[in-house]
Symmetry: C2
Subunit: 401 residues, 2 copies
C-alpha cells in the first residue's frame, strides 16, 4: 500500500470555514495598551459573584449527586418552568414544555441550522446581522437573502412573496440589535409577525439584550405578538447578559413539535446542558433576584453608553452618523460613503484603538464598507474619551483623503 | 396571500431523525419498581461532591469575574496544559496547543462529523458501536460501513483498501467498549494504527472509560501508538466518568491543523465551554487528586461487575455467551441465534426488569437481534441478583420457544 498524498479529507463546509475577522481583531486587542471598542463582553461589574457562589454551594450541599449526574436533554424542569413564567410576565403565554435549555443561545443557532437548513435553502437575515448567527448557519450551506433595513431597522414590507419564496425562516434581533443597536418599533413588530403568519415563514427572535433597556419602555416580544397573529416564532433567550456569559446558559421557546425535534438534535449534539449550572442558575434567579439585580446592570450600561455618545458628539465630524441605542451594548457608525472602515481599523490599531468594521455583518447583500460597530460596555470613561478622540481624528483625515 | 399548507419545512436530516430506542426505554425505567440494567449512568457514589464544592468556592472567591466571563474557544489554558501532561504520563507526547476543551465528548463527535463528513461520505464504525456517535454522525448524512469484529473486538486486518476507499475516518472505542465491554489487545492496536497510517485513514479514538480499568494492566493508547506509526489519531477524553458527567466536560487531542479547524467549528457551535466549569475542574484535578480518587471508583465498579457476572453464571443458560469486562460499565450478551432481544425486553419490562437490546448499536451491517447490553454500575447487589434471575428465566423460555 502506498502512502496517500493527503492524510485526511475535510468536509466541504469545513474547508470553506475562514477565521472570524472579529476573532483576529480580538487577538490584537488583548495587548494591554489597546483601547478596545471591539469586544462584545458584558461588564464583569454586573456579575453577581457572591450570589452565584452561594447558589453553587446550596446546590452541591443539598442535591450534589443529582447536580453532578447526567440530566434530561430538555433541561432542568424547575428552570424550564421559571423561563415559562418569565415569558408569561412579559406577555407571552408559554408552558414549561415549550422551553428547551441550551448551552448558550449560540448553541440554539447551531441546532436551528440543523433543524431547518438544507444545502442551498434560503435564509432571511437582517442587513447587517449578528456575525455568530451567520457563521453558525453557514455550516449548513444556506443561501442567505438580506432583508432591507433603514434607520428603524428591518423593513417588514420588504418581506414579500418573492423574497420569502422557499425561505426556511427569517432571523431577527428586535432589541438593541447586534451590530446596529437599533430596536424594532411596535408597528414594525406587528407588521412583521402578521406578514410572516401570512407567508408561513417562521421567525427566529434572538433577544439576548432585551433586559438591558435603559431608555424608554419595553416593547412586546415577537413571540407574544406572533402567537396572537398565528405566526410560528422561535424565541432565543440567554442568561449571558443578565447574569454572566461564562456560564454558557440560554434557552429556546418554541411550539412543542419544534421543541421535540430540537431535543433529538440536542441529544446528538451534546446530550444535555450541564446539570449543576442549570440548578445553580435556577437557585440564583428563583426568588426574583433579577428584579433587584438588573436595574444596577442597566444603570451601569446607560452610563457607559452616555459617555461614548457624548464623546462622539464632541469628536466625530458631521459626515459620520450613528445610532442612539435604547439598551444593549453597541453603537453603529456610518461614515461618509467611500470611507473604508477596514482601512480605518488598521490606522486605529496603529494608534492603539480597536473596533469592528461593519462588513463581516452582512450576508446576502454587498457589505457596507463604510460602517463600524463600537462597544462601550467594558471601557473606563477616560479611555472612551481618548479612544473616540483618536477615531474622530482618523475619520476627519479619511474624509479629507 | 393564502395561508400555506404547512407552517414550516424541516431539513431532510431533521426529518430523518427518529427518537432513540434507548431514550424511550429509559423513560420506562424511571418507574421506581423497575430494576434497570439499561442506563449508562456512572455511580453517584463516585462523585467527589465535597472536593468539587471546595473547587467552585475557590474559583469564585479568587477569580470570580474571569470565571463568569466569556473565555477562549480553545479552552482554559491551565486545563489544556493539564490534559497534555496527563497524556504524557500515559505515554503520548502531547503539547497544550494540541488540546481543545469541549462540552462533553458527545460534542466532540458532533464537531468531528461537521469536520469530516460530507453527505454520502463513508465512515467506518465497529459492529456494534456507541449509539450516541452513530446518532451524531448521522446528522451529517454519512454512509456507514461496519468493521467486522470478533470476541477480541475490531479486526484490524478487515480494514483493507476496499473498505477504506473514500472513508473519512474509522471510529474506535479501544477500552471496555460501549456496548460490548471489550478491550482491544496490544497486537490489534499496533496493527490498527499501522494499517491506518498506510491507508491514510484518520482514527478517532474515543476513550471515556479508560481510567476505569479494574482488571489487568493499562494498554497504550491509539494516540501514542499512532503517533509513533505515523497515523493521524484524534483522541476524545472525558471527565464524565472520572469526576462527574453532569459537568459536561471533555477534550479532544489532535494535530494542530485539526484543532485549528475544530476551534472554528466550536466557535460557531457554542462559542466555548463554560469557563467556571473548566476552572473548577482544573482546581479539582490539579494536585493529583485523581490518583487518590480513581482507585476508589475502580474498586466500586469492579465489585458491581463481579456481582453481575456471578449472578449471570448462576442464572443464565449455557446458550447465552457474554463478555468479561476488564473495566468500564457494560457486559454484552449474545443469546442463541433466533432469540429476539427486543421481544425479550418487552417480557422483561412486564416483570420490572430493563436492559438495552443490541440492534440499535449496529450501523452499516444487519443488526444482531440476539444481543443485548447490561449495565451493572448503579444497581444495588440484591437487585442485580433478582433482575438477572428474571432475565435468566426469560432466556430459558425463549430458547425453548
Amino acid at each position: 500500500m502506498d502512502m496517500p498524498a493527503r492524510p485526511y479529507v475535510f468536509s466541504q463546509r469545513a474547508q470553506q470555514l475562514t477565521s472570524s475577522t472579529i476573532r483576529e481583531i480580538l487577538k490584537v486587542t488583548e495587548r494591554p495598551e489597546i483601547i478596545s471598542f471591539a469586544g462584545g463582553l458584558p461588564s464583569p461589574q454586573g456579575f453577581p459573584i457572591a450570589r452565584m457562589r452561594a447558589a453553587f454551594d446550596h446546590v452541591l450541599d443539598t442535591a450534589g449527586a443529582a447536580a453532578l449526574q447526567y440530566g434530561p436533554t430538555e433541561g432542568y424542569a424547575p428552570l424550564r418552568a421559571w423561563v415559562a413564567e418569565d415569558m408569561r410576565r412579559h406577555g407571552a403565554q408559554v408552558e414549561p414544555d415549550e422551553v428547551l435549555i441550551v448551552s448558550g443561545s449560540q448553541q440554539a443557532l447551531d441546532m436551528l441550522g440543523k433543524l431547518f437548513i438544507d444545502p442551498g435553502s434560503r435564509v432571511l437575515v437582517e442587513a447587517p446581522s449578528y456575525l455568530g448567527a451567520l457563521q453558525s448557519f453557514s455550516l449548513c450551506g444556506p443561501e442567505f437573502a438580506a432583508v432591507p433595513t433603514d434607520e428603524g431597522g428591518l423593513i417588514p414590507e420588504a418581506i414579500d412573496e418573492s423574497l420569502a419564496a422557499g425561505a426556511r425562516f427569517v432571523y431577527v434581533l428586535p432589541n438593541f440589535q447586534n451590530p446596529t443597536g437599533l430596536t424594532l418599533d411596535l408597528p414594525r413588530r406587528v407588521a412583521l409577525v402578521q406578514r410572516c403568519a401570512q407567508l408561513g415563514l417562521p421567525v427566529i427572535e434572538d433577544d439576548p439584550y432585551g433586559e438591558l433597556r435603559y431608555v424608554g419602555e419595553a416593547l412586546p416580544s415577537l413571540l407574544g405578538l406572533g402567537r396572537a397573529a398565528g405566526a410560528t416564532v422561535i424565541r432565543l433567550g440567554s442568561f449571558s447578559k443578565v447574569l454572566a456569559p461564562g456560564l454558557r446558559l440560554g434557552y429556546v421557546v418554541a411550539p412543542r413539535e419544534i421543541i421535540a425535534k430540537l431535543v433529538q438534535i440536542k441529544q446528538a449534539t451534546d446530550l444535555h446542558t450541564a446539570t449543576l449550572t442549570q440548578m445553580a442558575v435556577y437557585e440564583t434567579v428563583r426568588s426574583g433576584f433579577l428584579d433587584e439585580h438588573l436595574p444596577r446592570v442597566r444603570e451601569l450600561y446607560r452610563r457607559q453608553c452616555g459617555y461614548m455618545l457624548e464623546a462622539m458628539r464632541a469628536h466625530f465630524p458631521d459626515t459620520a452618523r450613528w445610532t442612539q441605542p435604547e439598551g444593549g451594548m453597541f453603537i453603529w457608525v456610518t461614515l461618509a460613503s467611500g470611507v473604508d472602515a477596514g482601512r480605518l481599523l488598521q490606522q486605529a490599531v496603529a494608534r492603539n484603538v480597536a473596533f469592528v468594521p461593519g462588513a463581516p455583518f452582512f450576508a446576502g447583500v454587498a457589505p457596507w464598507a463604510n460602517t463600524l460597530r463600537l462597544s462601550f460596555v467594558t471601557v473606563p470613561e477616560p479611555s472612551i474619551r481618548a479612544g473616540i478622540a483618536v477615531l474622530g481624528d482618523l475619520i476627519r483625515h479619511a474624509d479629507a483623503a
